[in-house]
Amino acid sequence: MLKNVLVFSLSGTELISRANAVAENTVLVTAAGALTGADTVYTYPAESSVALQLKAIADVAAELQPELVLCEATASGRLVAGYLAALLKTNSLPDVQTLEITDAGLESTRMVYGGSFVKAESVPYPAVAIVGGGVLLGDENLKAGETKELSGTVEGLELVSVSESGVSMGNLAGAKRVVCVGRGLGSADNLPLVDELAGLLDAEIGCTRPAAEEENWYPKNRYIGISGVMLKSKMYLGLGVSGQMQHMIGTRSCGSIFAVNKLEGAAIVDEADYTLVGNVNTALPAIIEKLK
């Protein structure tokens, strides 16, 4: 049993449940109104930014001296993880695929070299890990503890404005079926057809990194692959997806892989169960007709 575990999480009870299972005393740092469930919950104002709370969180950690810090696999989780790892003089284990919490320390695996290899590594306590959804699944184990407020500031850093895009986050990581848009879709004019097809298939819509970052067809939190969402869906349909390794790595755990691509020699053909070779402009409406 560990003595003190600190968790940073803004959504989901997976990390705090596991922390409660392995530690005598747990501390959760989260945004106000987001989560509870630890012996002590520190909340910072939702309108603030985690970047302004780093020193305050570091103060909490310095007093607590946790053996283990678990951070969610989001940009904010990674920021807290790195900052606290420096304080605790350890190396944070980033975006682990598996994590064993042992008496001696952490053992983890994660993908490296764009997903071509899996690295197995371990660190002694104190240790920090960045953990995505599904890695530490288990029984919900929450405590009713006391809540304290954090109101951190950082000298020289001023939060000028905050905006929420209002774009639905959806639940790509947990979706049963996914339609994925690649740059081969050709034109934003086809996006309404993608919506229609996804509706017929009861699927969430994801995309490749270029479709998000270069074409701006979808927000960045929708891209699938090594630096984005890792799917666990039963079905994946790639529309105009070339099949680059960095993307396909995110589909490795999918059930059936379907693809529509104009090139029979595209990389995705080797990575798919069923590929329709054709022109997405004509195939997309034709598929929709068949599914209706």
């Binding site: 197995a120 001023e158 970052e213 960045k220 169960d273």
Partner: protein
């Protein structure tokens, strides 16, 4: 303003193969500047131009690649005026704790550094942690996932985009900033810039000289994962029966 861009020399990932024992074969791989660090370099150059009267320097922890003049040119041909490096023979085996502590020591040796800019992650390990750790070690304001840097009313403004939330910060003083790859497109250096880069000053310290912390990570293995076998069936849109069959299979997945 003095801006330091931290970067990593990695093996060109297109030349890293799966060896017969499943481990990475880097025997024929050439050295490149990690691609995301080129985005960071261009972002630094643009910011320096906007601020005016500024300097951009490169900084790395690396091994024998520091003796390679082509590698030096590839780091310095995109605008930065000079390079600082900590030479550690086993650089690629060091964990982020060790690398960040060497960078901290090196940053403190360079006079009047205002901003440290890092890429979002390295092209090989992609931990997305180094900038955050360096910020923690230096005790400086630290931001990650910054997708825009600009200069307004005498202040550096950083736009941080995390999922659906966008935060804009004004930075007044020192900071460590990790930028996303969409912040800028790396420039393609001209032949003149490449030649000129060879003449730019490089300061190299040994890791022993800097000190720094030891790695705490034990790497058990790095191996290619087993491949998921797929059916690889191909259907043609032009063939009506094949198209029909594809749609039937798709429908059965619902």
């Amino acid at each position: 303003m003095n801006i330091l861009v931290c970067f990593k020399y990695i093996y060109n990932d297109e030349e890293v193969y799966v060896g017969s024992d499943g481990t990475p074969d880097v025997g024929s791989a050439s050295w490149v500047v990690s691609p995301y660090d080129l985005n960071a370099t261009e972002a630094a150059m643009k910011l320096a131009a906007a601020v005016g009267d500024s300097n951009v320097y490169m900084m790395t922890v690396a091994g024998d690649v520091l003796d390679n003049s082509k590698a030096k040119k590839s780091a310095l041909s995109r605008g930065p005026a000079a390079m600082y490096a900590v030479k550690a023979p086993n650089a690629l085996e060091l964990d982020n704790l060790a690398v960040a502590s060497l960078l901290k020591g090196a940053v403190e040796k360079v006079e009047d550094v205002d901003l440290v800019i890092c890429g979002e992650g390295s092209g090989d390990m992609y931990s997305q942690q180094l900038g955050n750790m360096l910020g923690g070690m230096l005790g400086w304001p630290t931001l990650n996932v910054v997708s825009e840097l600009k200069y307004e009313d005498g202040k550096v403004m950083a736009v941080r985009s995390d999922a659906g939330r966008t935060e804009t910060f004004a930075i007044n003083g020192k900071a460590v900033i990790s930028v996303t790859s969409d912040i800028s497109r790396p420039r393609i250096p001209s032949m003149k810039e490449i030649m000129g880069a060879g003449k730019k000053p490089v300061t190299i310290w040994s890791a022993d000289e800097i000190g720094g912390l030891a790695s705490v990570t034990n790497v058990a293995s790095v191996k290619a994962p087993p491949k998921t076998e797929r059916k690889r069936q191909v259907f043609h849109e032009a063939d009506e029966a094949e198209f029909e069959e594809f749609c039937k299979l798709l429908k059965s997945s619902i």
